[in-house]
């Protein structure tokens, strides 16, 4: 069985982190099962973890609005853009007016949800802290970021690279564009007031947060 490692509410965002090996298909609707069956076998475990985290935050979100629902009556459909949430309620099916973002990586998944009336976009990225290839580093970092990277001691570089990647990826997910925008066009600035996100050289209004989970993973969250 999976362990819902943690759930929390910070401001108006609900978060769930799930860890472990999935044993069995739980709570999937027929459409979700079709999606699942189309995946390569070694992708299915993490995908299911992501679904479990996602359905947990949807349940938490609905409960905060005094609505209780079984996870089997929640359907999450991803077709290239941000995932959409459909709720099979008593009076029919409706699309939930909430931003949902899911990320999974090597046996861990995270999902966050927030009401669409509160923000215009939400993006989450979860990655294991790792060493990046030189070519990748030079390709995704801006000139300034690369200068900062070169000034770091070797043992600090994997965390720096992973954090930078996560924040950029979370921002692009919040925009709903993914990698269709080159990550080099997004710049992450660390300031005394927090993390600032710039795109094409201009400041954005993105709110950025990041945490280290289990000393191994970076979880980055961007709201717009």
């Amino acid at each position: 069985m999976n362990a819902i490692q943690s759930t929390n509410q910070e401001g108006r965002i609900y978060t769930a982190i799930v860890k472990g090996a999935q044993k069995g298909i739980l709570n999937l609707t027929n459409k979700e099962l079709d999606n699942y069956n189309q995946l390569l076998e070694d992708k299915r475990g993490d995908w299911l973890l992501g679904r479990q985290a996602a359905k947990q935050v949807v349940v938490d979100f609905l409960e905060s609005n005094h609505q209780e629902i079984d996870k089997k009556r929640i359907e999450i459909i991803s077709s290239g853009g941000p995932p959409k949430v459909f709720v099979y309620g008593e009076s029919g099916v409706y699309e939930l007016n909430a931003h949902l973002s899911i990320s999974h990586c090597g046996g861990v998944a995270a999902a966050k949800i927030i009401d669409k009336n509160d923000v215009i976009g939400l993006g989450v990225d979860l990655e294991r802290v790792r060493t990046f290839k030189d070519e990748t580093i030079k390709s995704f970092m801006s000139e300034q970021e690369y200068k900062t990277f070169l000034g770091l001691p070797t043992d600090k570089r994997p965390l720096f690279c992973t954090r930078l990647w996560c924040l950029k990826e979370a921002y692009l997910k919040a925009l709903g564009v993914g990698l269709s925008i080159h990550p080099q066009r997004v710049e992450i600035w660390d300031t005394p007031d927090g993390v600032l996100v710039r795109k094409d050289g201009r400041p954005t209004t993105a709110q950025a947060k990041w945490t280290i989970e289990d000393e191994l993973y970076i979880l980055a969250t961007i709201t717009l």
Binding site: L40, D125, R130, E135, T136, S139, E169, L179, S180, H182
Partner: protein, 82 residues
């Protein structure tokens, strides 16, 4: 000029090597995002496409390619122009 099937065979090996997976997992309708372990690996695959071919390829070109067959068609079209 290579046929589409030859391009596919080359691509199958190339993608498998770049992503460190079995070439049998790389089929005509395989989605690049699903073959990749994560977003970093997908980005590295797109970079590899950009850097591999003799014809000019931009990131904006490769990022639109969703499946292996999309890449085959793109490469075939570009090589036909040369």
């Amino acid at each position: 000029m290579k046929s589409k099937q030859e391009i596919f065979k080359d691509l199958q090996n190339f993608v498998a090597q770049t992503l460190n997976i079995d070439s049998e997992q790389v089929n005509h309708d395989s989605k690049l995002v699903e073959l990749s372990a994560d977003s970093i690996q997908l980005f590295e695959l797109l970079l590899a496409f950009e850097n591999t071919y003799d014809f000019e390829v931009s990131y904006e070109d490769v990022v639109k390619l969703r499946t292996v067959d999309d890449v085959v068609e793109f490469v075939y079209e570009q090589e036909s122009k040369n």
